[in-house]
Symmetry: C3
């Protein structure tokens, strides 16, 4: 994947959001050497949650939540771009994603939901975008969002 | 923030707890190079959980849980002091907090709760205390505690 | 602990699983320098979940879930062996475990459950196996599994 990330985003029809206010007192990311620790991002866009939880354990419910997970990934990319001083090509590896799905007891399909976030990173970065991941179903998320995803990213030296 | 951390703690009226027994078989922290990985700490004090879950999604419930999150932070600082061989001024950066709030389905205010833990680190360390963070609502926590927080901390070389 | 890990596994009567397909689009691990980030593993064996959630908050329920957590650890070790190019003796330190227990609201014994995973690493690696840990109870896990565990591991240089 040698194509510039911004060009690739456009080809994929992916648009990063405008800036928005965090829902608590924390940084959008913390850099630690070459690693960027990205704070959890929910599926919000222009200040509005796009899908609320709990996510139904049905095909339609999972598909809608997978789209919500894509939005989480776009929000993470927005914050990541800032961490990269505007240059998303500085990403060397998506190391790890943590995915949380708001659900009722017994929800079994968190991996299918979080795949929506994974796909964005893989579509954009190819091999560099593949990552370790943990996906779980939780009782509630900020703003009653359906999905939240955080990430650890390695930048090039 | 050049003031010694112990002096700053006293000025803030913050007292670290006495030692206590973990509720399972794990280390209170693991050092890995300059990073300290702190195990999750619940809001317990002198062996007693100070507030049990689930946290009600009301102003009073959130305020009580935010106080509980402060206690989690004090417990983390106690363990961190050991990791620093007693010298809390060796902290270079609070890299990341993970916050878990015991709640019923649909709880939407985990960020407001976990702000209570964030505030302790920021009050104590200023800029060095700001961090990436992920906050979620979960079904149950050790000892039926209301809040659990873990952390990744960078020490000075 | 200078005994070879594979010999130690046999002495402990521990068998690693055969290969299996992940339940989503992610890598089983991502290496980042000397660190291996292992994706969350549920208690599945030969493609079947060995115990489903929610885990009852009873002595029997906790004991069964603790056994399930051992299986999560064996699955993690299988993936870790691949990350080590087949040589489990390359493990320098088990840095951190994250443990998730599928439960109903108010479940308070996640540490006792996740101890089952911790024990495997400590039995196998001794001091090198001890780690920081965070254990929480969640609303649902992949495949409706009872337990999920992820890990960060340091390899020798």
């Amino acid at each position: 994947m040698t194509e510039p990330a911004e060009k690739r985003l456009r080809e994929l029809g992916l648009e990063l959001p405008d800036d928005w206010a965090p829902r608590g007192r924390f940084l959008p990311f913390r850099k630690d050497g070459p690693l960027v620790w990205l704070s959890g991002q929910i599926n919000e866009w222009n200040g509005a949650v796009t899908l609320t939880g709990p996510v139904p354990d049905t095909a339609d419910g999972i598909a809608a939540a997978r789209s919500a997970a894509r939005i989480c990934a776009l929000n993470l990319l927005y914050r990541l771009r800032t961490a990269c001083d505007g240059d998303l090509d500085r990403v060397d590896a998506v190391v790890r994603l943590g995915g949380f799905v708001s659900c009722l007891p017994g929800f079994s399909n968190s991996p299918k939901v979080i795949d929506g976030a994974t796909d964005v990173f893989v579509e954009l970065y190819g091999d560099r975008g593949w990552h370790a991941r943990t996906a779980v179903g939780v009782a509630g998320l900020p703003g009653n969002a359906a999905v939240e995803v955080d990430a650890v990213i390695r930048l090039r030296d």
